[in-house]
Amino acid sequence: MSEQSNNKSATPVLQLRQINKNFPGVKALQQAQLSLYAGEVHALLGENGAGKSTLVKVMTGVLQKDGGELLLDARAQSFATPKDAQQAGISTVYQEVNLLPNLSVAHNLFLGSEPKRFGFIDKKAMANQARQLLSTFGLDIKVTAPLSEFSVAVQQLVAIARGIAPKRGAACTKVLVLDEPTASLDADEVQNLFQVLRQLKQQGVAIVFITHFLDQVYQISDRITVMRNGCFVGEYQTINLNKAELIAAMLGKELCQQRHQAPCLAVEHSEAILTARQLSSGQSVQQLDLDLPQGQAVGLAGLLGSGRTEICRLLFGLDQADGGTLSFAGKPIKLNNPAQAIALGIALCPEDRKTQGMIAPLSIRENISLALQAKQGWWRVISKKKQQQLADFYIEKLQIATPDADKPIGQLSGGNQQKVILARWLAVEPQLLLLDEPTRGIDIGAHAEILQLIRQLCQQGMSLLVTSSELEELTAFSSKIVVMRDRKKVAELNGEDLNPDRIMAAIAGASV
């Protein structure tokens, strides 16, 4: 299956060989490799936590490799800082847009390399150059306006334009790395971006394209490198690899096995613990009908921005409904804040562990007991001894790898952090647990353990609503899967339909 490409006789513009990178407790990269030729779009694919971002960071000087070699134009190089990489002609646009929203668009494009006149910034020239640069993107905006006035999509395009903008003292861009550049773009904007990528390709730039959208891979990329679990899996010509083979390469054997497990059903036909009818919240969720049965896990699928996270926020009281009805355990409810939801027995493991989940400087013990403490109120304190018991119990039960419960949660690996957050909510013993992307950015071992835990919790009678962009994962435990598109529920799949192909079709909106 893994057809190596040998057709290009030219030397690669950038080559990474046998790259190793270790973090405390995690081997992030093992013998990873990547070859880029001038004038190609090279898709770098893999699941969350496969090591794509780490590899890119090694390539762009953000991280230092522990082993292996990096060849730029066939010469061994090593970049101590991102600036070194940039000087050598490697530009990167990261997943999170990192621009300065209060500066003008033009200033953002040329920050640090502004055109000057008599030692001062030549604003006129800068605006002209900016206009010129953006026009190649089909973007006609007021370049002197602050960046924050524009939509995220425009900001994303500006970030990419900044990536290829000429920089003072640097070689012209040879390699452009785009980490999930299309995540916040709509279909037209994506086509615009692809147009630009094709132009750049003709100019001889090698483009690394990281994405979760496989359709886009087939639209734009020439070759594909697949990574899994920090290792190189294979390098393929895009036209020689069909989607099923690609997915198999990305997911590997371990997860495919999960697929054959039956969905967990503690009770065959159970009562709904939560029922939503025509539930709406502004533009973010529209007329949602949802039944969550007791003791089952329901999957919530859809692309980024389809309304998955918004449903979780709504059901946890973080956003307020402005229409429709919601009932929990047979009683109509109205949620104004998370504390109310928690009091009813609803818990949410949020999407962004770093900013919404963990309290990094506090210990594992404190992080685990905080939600229970908040539920009890500040005056009924959980003694240190009880906290320690709770922490010890869950460290053992969820196999959290840590020397002791007093270690700050911020120092753990991603998978262990996620387990601590899960432990926090299990300690509250909720009836309904909402998990928003529970396996994002964690290592494969912890990944499997968390899926196992979800099944266990169902068997113990807990109800779960799990969102994930990994469809294979959803089919491993869901009794039914709700598919969202454009903030609306577009399908509810169960029984025979619970397979990734059907979900993918529903997400894409194709009639099957």
Partner: protein
């Protein structure tokens, strides 16, 4: 597809996990945490001890204590006694800083509460408990205003409290009608200059406030919630903590502490001087909290360490006076010594020093 590879992989994983857990269990009762706690106290205490030693060298009588009229006298008692108002402010300030905020208004709140006391006493008909009660209520009201602006209106703490810092002194001047209001009331004056069980009354008031606050914060979950909100307000809200309520509470408590400090200061001079009462003391309080090892970005706090910070500042002021240096050097020396103390507090700086030192040794060895 063969299962073999997967099975082998799985057992290997289990093995390494079991090892990890075993190591974890052995290490769980390690002294790491308490050692860390110890070092947090170590550096402020060492700094304080050094300052006191310098004082002893300059003045051999420095540690001497005299017993007179049922009360202890001596330079050490003076330092503790003079620290009282700032210590009270620092206790409140610790909580505000723990949530990532700052309260610039506490000095002005001292002035307001002092003015309230003096005017009530001049009017005459008020009992001392009523005067104290009303002054504390005034302080709490000021804290409420700050807290409301910060947590519900979303104004930046430094701006919100700057408003009351400026306006508060104006309110105090209005209450005093531009005069220095003095009163004759020996019972009330005793709160500032009296003594009880051999120690000055202000010292007892600080100890009492410290004890009550420690009980309130550490025997309930309030202290933990304050730290959680300070570390990550969003995550705290997501797990059911009322982060706005917590922020309101800390400004309220800071207002209460400032009121107590105002009462002591007013009782001490038997009068209320709206222009000078508590002037710039908020800065000393902030400094004390920082010397105590708290981060201005919020998070962990310790009231005892903040009080040690206050003692360091006060001991330093005394040292400069005792040293007999011309008084024009006072402020500069104070600033330099405090910079030194803060740098010694920093683990980063200590490590850099260590590296520098060991590098020097290495070079020396080779030579």
């Amino acid at each position: 597809m063969t299962n073999e590879g997967v099975v082998v992989d799985q057992t290997h994983q289990d093995q390494s996990k079991a090892d990890q857990l075993k190591a974890a269990r052995q290490a769980r009762y390690s002294p790491g945490q308490s050692a860390h706690q110890f070092s947090l106290y170590l550096y402020p205490l060492v700094a304080l001890a050094l300052l006191l030693l310098v004082n002893l060298l300059l003045d051999p009588q420095f540690f001497s204590l005299q017993w007179q009229d049922g009360r202890l006298y001596g330079p050490l008692i003076d330092i503790v006694n003079r620290s009282a108002p700032v210590a009270l402010l620092a206790i409140g300030m610790s909580l505000v800083i723990a949530t990532g905020g700052i309260d610039l208004s506490v000095g002005a709140v001292m002035a307001i509460c002092g003015a309230v006391c003096a005017n009530l006493l001049v009017l005459g008909d008020w009992s001392i408990p009523a005067v104290i009660g009303l002054a504390v209520l005034t302080g709490l009201a000021c804290g409420l205003v700050n807290g409301f602006m910060v947590s519900y209106l979303g104004i930046q703490p430094i701006v919100a409290t700057l408003v009351l810092m400026v306006a508060g002194r104006g309110v105090a001047q209005l209450l005093n009608q531009g005069q220095i209001v003095t009163f004759q009331n020996p019972d009330f004056a005793a709160l500032g200059s009296g003594s009880f069980l051999a120690l000055p009354v202000p010292v007892w008031l600080v100890l009492l406030a410290l004890l009550m606050m420690q009980l309130l914060l550490r025997r309930t979950a309030l202290g933990l919630f304050i730290e959680a909100v300070g570390c990550n307000a969003k995550a705290s809200r997501y797990l059911g903590i009322d982060d706005r309520g917590i922020k309101l509470t800390v400004y309220l408590l800071a207002g209460g502490c400032a009121a107590l400090a105002g009462i002591i200061a007013t009782a001490d001079i038997q009068g209320s001087d709206a222009n000078n009462a508590g002037l710039w003391l908020e800065l000393d309080a902030i400094l004390a909290v920082v010397i105590g090892g708290a981060a201005l970005t919020g998070g962990r706090f310790s009231l005892p360490r903040a009080v040690i910070g206050v003692l360091i500042i006060q001991a330093l002021s005394t040292t400069i006076v005792v040293s007999g240096l011309p008084s024009k050097f006072n402020l500069l020396i104070k600033a330099l010594v405090i910079l030194l103390v803060l740098m010694l507090q920093s683990e980063l700086f200590r490590n850099q020093l260590k590296t520098l030192f060991s590098f020097g040794k290495l070079r020396g060895g080779k030579a």
